[in-house]
């Protein structure tokens, strides 16, 4: 199974590269800009060369040799930086929030839904993506909404591409988990009956049972595989039809199957949790099952920041705009990224407005959320990493994205000032070395009514 998965991944990666190769083979050199490399500081008057969708050279303009025939982009007075990566969005799962028919956000029929694959619902043609792209967002994690304790498996996308397969750089990259008040089955806003699990006790017990069941399932499946192999091996061809395998075929359980890579620690689980005491509860469970955790939100964790640091897990802060509790200082949440980073925690920042993560219409504001963290104490370099390299690393794309380094995918943005400032205008976005048309449904409306 593991092998199969690896092969699938390879195939997928292969597909993406093939498609990229279909794009016109162009060499572009961005010369004279201020390069925010993220990985190795700022280069004033730098040059960056993109060849075949990858970064081929980065350095001082005086030192980088621009290949003959390259298209030269004069970037004097501009800032050049890696495409931004939003660690939590609902791109392609929603179009108009209030229009239920346009939403495939979560499957609330059960609380344990690891076998929901975002890849199966991702609507690549969503209008939300070009809108975000215009502000320099080139990659994102797409996660289901937060109704369920285990809501499904995320995808990692590129915000450009001819079709779904080209845009999904990785499917099932992480398991979307949630723990807290929201997942309790209390009949919901519309009323109705409360049902199990209607308390945190119920939620945790159910989760524990699910992971135990998956462990049992994994053992049974391994046993069945072993038997099947034995039965297959030395026997003659006609005899194998009467083997154990044929008589007692192992019935695959997709729900259980889906949890296995996470029980093996092969891929991360992203746990959405807001309250400090909820973090302690869910982390105890995660540690019991050796899950590879990324914490998400941690909005009201001010009292246990040292403990969070001691978990040695990365943290997504989002939205930074969530409200402090009554009688808390107004900046109790604004200062979280700084406080965590100060304690050595690897921090990412997501885009959402207060009110929860289902706000991908606002993904274009991702750089401003990072800037706001700077206003409240996060060092600028850390803030920039929190929306680029740190996100890439958390989701397994650290070697391909997130910084201006040779060999990485040429997702590069050109802006007329500090990317984290609300006043700055993005002038050009390159994805896999191709200049993306700076057009969205919104720019078309603007232009139509500006005539």
């Amino acid at each position: 199974m593991k092998k199969l998965f690896a092969v699938a991944l390879l195939l997928l990666a292969g597909t993406a590269l093939l498609r990229a190769a279909d794009a016109p083979k162009k060499v572009i050199a961005i010369v004279g800009g201020r390069l925010l490399t993220v990985s190795h500081g700022i280069i004033e008057n730098g040059a960056l060369v993109m060849v075949d969708g990858k970064i081929a050279a980065v350095g001082a303009a005086s030192e980088v040799s621009v290949p003959n025939g390259a298209e030269i982009v004069d970037a004097h007075g501009f800032t050049v930086y890696p495409g931004l990566i939003d660690p939590e969005t609902n791109f392609g799962l929603t179009e108009v929030q209030a229009d239920v028919n346009s939403n495939d956000l979560a499957e609330p029929s059960d609380e344990i839904m690891p076998h929901m694959h975002v890849a199966d619902a991702f609507h690549a043609e969503t209008e939300l993506i070009p809108v975000a792209r215009l502000n320099g967002i080139t990659n994102a994690v797409v996660a289901p909404a937060t109704n369920d304790s285990i809501a499904g498996q995320d995808i990692f996308i590129q915000l450009a591409g001819a079709d779904r397969d080209q845009m999904i750089l990785g499917r099932d990259v992480a398991l979307a988990m949630n723990f807290g008040a929201e997942q309790r089955r209390r009949g919901g806003r519309a009323g109705g009956h409360a049902e199990y699990p209607s308390t945190r006790m119920g939620l945790i017990t159910q989760l524990r049972q699910a992971f135990l069941d998956a462990q049992d399932y994994m053992a049974q499946r391994d046993e069945a595989d072993k038997k099947a192999q034995k039965a297959d091996k030395p026997e003659k061809a006609e005899k194998s039809d009467k083997s154990d395998k044929a008589d007692n075929p192992f019935k695959r359980d997709l729900k259980m199957e889906a949890l296995i890579p996470y029980l093996k620690g092969e891929r991360p689980v992203v746990i959405g949790v807001y309250e400090g005491y909820d973090i302690e509860t869910i982390m105890a469970l995660a540690q019991d099952f050796h899950l590879k955790v990324i914490l998400n939100h941690v909005t009201h964790s001010q009292e246990i920041l040292d403990k969070i640091a001691a978990y040695k897990v990365p943290v997504i802060i989002g939205p930074i705009y969530d409200f402090p509790l009554a009688n808390e200082r107004y900046d109790a949440v604004f200062t979280l990224p700084a406080e965590l980073a100060r304690r050595g925690v690897k921090v990412a920042i997501s885009s959402a407005d207060a009110g929860g993560p289902v706000s991908s219409h606002s993904s274009r504001n991702l750089p401003y959320a990072a800037g706001f963290a700077v206003a409240y104490g996060l060092p600028y370099d850390e803030a920039f990493k929190a929306i680029t390299l740190n996100v890439a690393e958390m989701f397994g794309f650290g070697d391909k994205l997130g910084s201006l380094d040779v060999g990485k995918m040429a997702n590069v943005v050109l802006a007329n000032g500090d990317p984290l400032d609300v006043r700055t205008d993005v002038k050009q976005v390159y994805i896999q070395g191709v200049a993306v048309p700076m057009v969205s449904r919104q720019t078309k409306l603007r232009d139509e009514f500006s005539k």
Partner: protein, 453 residues
């Protein structure tokens, strides 16, 4: 109780107690009389009315602005605030807020409820007021929600967080009434199979309401005429609060603030306003104003709009972030507003976005969150800019307030310091005790019916 939980609770209690103690100390010092004269020196003064003064001074006397310029003639006894390297702006004004109203935003039991008064729901200890104050907000128009075609009457507050309810009211502010059309009233009443479940129904409900009001006014006019002639048999008609409120609209006594999104609705609303003889002060949300701004500009109806919220419902599908600046260039007075307990804390950044989306000057941008919303509320002669004679509602920022990085350092209302970020604890200099937490997001229009509208 689980021992860990107990420990946590104890920690929280201790923390709260510490916070309260700090707040009490702060309050004690704040109770000292405010200085009669304050001079801010060497600030970058963004006046909102007449440009920016580098290294400027502002003199506050008895709660009013007494001087502004390169230098001012303040008395030697004035308290000096050295604002070197800092920015001074008028207080931020939000012309569309539902903060501090608990969940009493919509009386969604009838599409016409003009005699509801938001002051009756105003909770002056709501934490949202404090959080807005820390974002530099000094004045808010607290509006009824958008469930009804004709909702209730607004309350205008000065954000003097920590004072009692009546001390937070903006004295003698004009009255405003909230109208709405489009998806929200459709959804609320349509879901109950009631009128209005369409836009046709929307506007007919309004017209009928005004016909009722005209008839009511005529009855009173007839009675008053008889009574004036000394007719002793004349009997006074029954007073009807709802119809009296509508009559006040027709008499021009209330500013009409209309929630609507679509271009066609602006045109319909203006036509109805002409038909019944009232003026529309502002369209709120107004996300499609860029399509018909040239038609609305001559009406002198302003807009209070989001910068970049979009797609939360069908009528927000054509929203573009250039709306504000494009409309402004066509002569419409434009304000930015929050409709959100979140965005109200960073309206200065929303203004900053206008530099990005459409190339507003910094002067134009700051006006969108100060003087222009003041005009919408009808208090622009008293606040919204740094001009002599106006209320000393001022914010001192550590950086250019239009940047992402700016933080409000000190917030003054009527010359009195209400927030000081550098003070220990909450920084709310007049506040003691416990805040209330109404929950929710302070919006009646977040697309998912959060407040049931």
């Amino acid at each position: 109780m689980h021992p860990f939980q107990k420990a946590r609770t104890a920690m929280r209690m201790a923390w709260l107690a510490a916070g309260t103690a700090v707040a009490l100390c702060a309050a004690t010092s704040a109770q000292q009389a405010q200085p009669q004269d304050i001079v801010f020196k060497n600030a970058t003064v963004m006046t909102a009315s007449h440009g920016t003064i580098e290294h400027g001074s502002v003199w506050v006397h008895a709660g009013k602005i007494a001087g502004v310029g390169d230098t001012v003639n303040a008395p030697a006894s004035a308290t000096v605030v050295d604002a070197t390297g800092q920015w001074l702006t008028p207080g931020i004004i939000d012309p569309h807020s539902h903060s501090a109203l608990d969940s009493d935003v919509n009386e969604a039991t009838s599409p016409v409820t003009p005699s509801m008064h938001m002051i009756d729901a105003f909770d002056n200890r709501d934490k949202a007021l404090y959080q807005a104050l820390a974002g530099g907000v000094t004045t808010e128009l607290l509006l009824h929600g958008s469930a009804n075609m004709i909702g209730g009457q607004a309350v205008v507050i000065k954000n003097k967080f920590g004072l009692d309810r009546d001390a937070m009211l903006f004295p003698n502010a004009p009255g405003s009434i909230k109208f709405a059309s489009g998806e929200n009233p459709k959804r609320v009443y349509g879901s109950r199979d009631q009128l209005p479940s369409t836009r046709m129904g929307n506007f007919e409900v309004m017209r009928q309401a005004f016909e009722d009001a005209k008839a009511y006014m005529a009855t009173w006019d007839a009675y008053n005429a008889k009574a004036a002639k000394g007719d002793k048999d004349a009997t006074a008609p029954k007073r009807d609060l709802k119809l009296e409120a509508l009559a006040d609209v027709l008499r021009g006594k209330l500013y009409v603030q209309i929630h609507c999104y679509r271009a066609d609705e602006f045109l319909t609303e203006e036509a109805i306003a002409h038909e019944y003889g009232y003026k529309i002060r502002a369209f709120h949300h107004a996300l499609e104003m860029y399509k018909v701004a040239d038609k609305i500009a001559p009406e002198q109806t302003a807009i209070a709009t989001f910068t970049d919220w979009w797609g939360f419902k069908d009528e927000a599908w054509d929203a573009i972030p250039w709306n504000a600046v494009m409309s402004m260039r066509k002569g419409v007075r434009v304000a930015l507003k929050s409709d959100s307990n979140d965005h109200i804390r960073r309206l200065n950044q929303e203004a900053g976005k206008m530099v990005h989306y459409g190339g507003a000057t910094e002067d134009e941008a700051i006006r969108m969150v100060t003087l222009n919303p003041a005009w919408i509320i009808g208090v622009d002669d008293r606040t919204g800019s740094i001009d002599v004679g106006k209320d000393a509602d001022l914010v001192l920022w550590n950086l250019d307030p239009l940047s992402t990085y700016a933080r409000a350092q000190k917030v003054y209302i009527d010359g009195d310091l209400f927030f000081d970020a550098t003070a220990p604890g909450l920084g709310a200099t007049h506040f003691t005790g416990a805040m209330h937490d109404a929950g929710g997001f302070g919006s009646d229009d977040d697309g998912n019916g959060e407040d049931g509208q």
